[in-house]
């Protein structure tokens, strides 16, 4: 009701003002976020060419004939070449396992923050938030020095006498898992905390008054209530990790096949823009369901609905 009153006035007093307020961000996002996807889709049907830009035009107009030439070769190649399929599967596996690890580590942390004293909470949230503002590049680089064969971790383990020769961790999938969990953990904790802190503790008290064990009430009350936080956190980790480039590039080795890295190589090293576009289109097709899930949970959050 209040909203409607607000809106009506906005409409009446300055005609066009409302359109302007909606229009400016809408047009910007349409132009620089949505439209580009259609161009990617278009170029994924083109052929690579030695030219500037390095692809062929998919339509031509000559002698009153409009020709549309769709080259499905890029997609056929993605399906035929085992490298690409392995890279997609590798990315999905990496993203899935890291998401589960982040949830397992992040949930108790978010829970501990939410149940801390109020003043302590703001400091703890700040401590969790700060790394998300720091370059992923630098945080991953920090691990390169720790995990390398003559790095700190191996030096420590050897001086403790636990191992005789350095473990090969850098440039393996294990290093990528460490890097991904390390970099994305805050993105799991923050939405979980935002959700957990809103919970009404009287529910838990009531349950314990009625004889429910602590674990039972945690599992049957806290976890279901934090569903939106869990979805948002998991999606904030899963989706970007599928397309992650920096971490597999710096910490991974030859065995690490991830689609973000392959796309980068196709684009920058092979200069094959159409294949890179086709890779992006397929990646987006795989991610569209998680992205919609995320958007829904965000929309609920933004409108303040529980």
């Amino acid at each position: 009701m209040n909203m409607r009153k607000f809106k009506r006035r906005l409409n009446r007093i300055i005609p066009g003002g409302r359109q302007l307020v909606i229009g400016v961000p809408f047009i910007w996002l349409f132009l620089f976020f949505m439209l580009p996807f259609f161009i990617v889709l278009k170029i994924s049907f083109a052929e690579a060419d030695v030219a500037i830009p390095p692809y062929t035009e998919i339509y031509s107009y000559a002698e009153q004939k409009l020709q549309l030439l769709l080259n499905l070769g890029n997609y056929a190649m993605l399906g035929d070449d085992e490298l690409y399929i392995a890279a997609y599967l590798g990315s999905l596996k990496m993203a899935l396992i890291s998401t589960i690890l982040c949830l397992a580590i992040g949930y108790p942390m978010a829970y501990a923050i939410a149940s801390a004293r109020k003043e302590l909470q703001t400091v703890l949230v700040l401590l969790i938030m700060m790394p998300t503002w720091t370059a992923i590049l630098i945080r991953v680089y920090a691990w390169m020095g720790i995990l390398s064969n003559n790095g700190l971790l191996n030096g420590f383990l050897m001086s403790m006498g636990l191992i005789d020769e350095p473990l090969q961790i850098l440039n393996t999938n294990l290093a990528v898992y460490i890097g991904v969990v390390y970099s994305y953990l805050p993105f799991m904790i923050l939405p979980l905390y935002a959700n957990l802190v809103k919970h009404d503790t009287s529910l838990l008290e009531a349950a314990s008054d009625l004889g429910s064990s602590t674990f039972n009430s945690f599992w049957k009350i806290t976890v279901p209530l934090s569903k939106n936080g869990i979805i948002a956190g998991c999606m904030l980790v899963f989706i970007p990790v599928v397309g992650e480039f920096v971490i597999p590039e710096l910490l991974g080795g030859p065995e690490t096949l991830m689609i973000g890295k392959v796309l980068w190589q196709e684009f920058f090293n092979n200069r094959d823009w159409p294949v890179a576009s086709a890779l992006a289109v397929v990646m987006l097709a795989i991610l569209i369901v998680p992205i919609i899930l995320f958007n829904r949970s965000q929309a609920k959050e933004m409108e303040g609905k529980e």
Binding site: P25, F32, I138, G243, I291, Q298
Partner: protein
């Protein structure tokens, strides 16, 4: 309360896991030895050496410039988007709009970067702009994805706000624009500052988007660092990384400090207003009773 203790332990271990690598990085940036894994005593020679590296310094200036423009534009755009999402509940294409605002948060950067580059190339062919890619194209890319972060932060604040203040101003005849700039903006100012600082930091950090949409001669700091890091760990890079960490920590601390102070001021003002109005209502009967006597 066994679970409580377990989660606290996890929190401590998790924070150590998050901060220990960064701490090690900073300590090793003061390592005198050229061998990055051998400790050779304290030294600041790598920091001094950075000053002479003009290519690196050029990229630092360029990155800071882009980050400033991004922060300003992302706050403006993100605030508008947040305002639309929280205050205008029904219009055509609202679901699409909501999706467009939040999707950049999760969209893999390689996809966003590639698609924006292809857009710029297509635009250059069709309308002749942008002729060359550089600061402007990187700014557009960064603004688009930072605006999403700003929108999330600001919309959280807008939702908490008491609508009645804005309504009161409009009932008194203020125009919506005036209400927005004189009432809404000051009330959400801390979150605007937070969003701006966040955009600044995110823009300063970005490697993937900048790599796609930059042109020759416009390498940013993360691009410089990345090309050096690819070849392995180097003491100079430790120093650069530590400086970036320091800059981000300062920015984060400032955001926290100012938003906390603003919050405290706001609470104090509300408390004061409540006390004053309570005192007034207490006084009022006296005033009325006193008046007839005076007449």
């Amino acid at each position: 309360m066994k679970r409580f203790r377990f989660s606290s332990l996890m929190l401590v271990v998790g924070l150590l896991f998050i901060y220990l690598p960064m701490l090690i990085l900073v300590i090793y940036s003061f390592n005198a030895s050229k061998l990055v894994t051998v400790w050779g005593g304290w030294s600041i020679k790598w920091y001094v050496g950075l000053m002479d590296n003009s290519q690196l310094m050029g990229s630092v200036v360029r990155s800071l410039e882009i980050a400033c423009y991004t922060a300003i534009a992302a706050v403006a755009l993100g605030t508008l988007a947040a305002f639309v999402l929280t205050r205008i509940t029904h219009f055509k294409g609202r679901t699409l709009f909501g999706g467009l605002v939040t999707a950049p948060l999760v969209m893999p950067e390689v996809i966003t970067g590639l698609s924006l580059l292809l857009l710029f190339v297509a635009m250059a062919q069709m309308i002749g702009w942008p002729q060359e890619r550089g600061i402007v194209t990187i700014w557009i890319a960064h603004t688009t994805f930072c605006a999403a972060y700003v929108a999330v932060v600001v919309s959280a604040r807008l939702r908490e706000l008491d609508l009645s203040i804005e309504e009161a101003a409009m009932d008194l005849g203020a125009r919506p624009w005036k209400v927005f700039f004189l009432i809404t903006i000051p009330m959400i100012a801390p979150s605007l500052a937070a969003g701006g600082m966040m955009s600044f930091a995110l823009s300063l950090d970005d490697l993937v988007l900048a790599s796609f949409v930059s042109g020759p001669g416009s390498t940013t700091l993360p691009m410089e660092v990345f090309s050096a890091v690819r070849l392995g760990v180097k003491p100079e890079i430790n120093a650069v990384a530590s400086l970036i960490l320091l800059a981000v920590s300062i920015v984060t601390f400032l955001v926290w400090f100012f938003s906390r102070r603003a919050e405290e001021n706001r609470k104090r003002a509300i408390q004061q207003a409540i006390e004053e109005s309570a005192a007034d209502s207490w006084k009022q009967p006296d005033v009325r009773r006193a008046q007839p006597e005076a007449v």
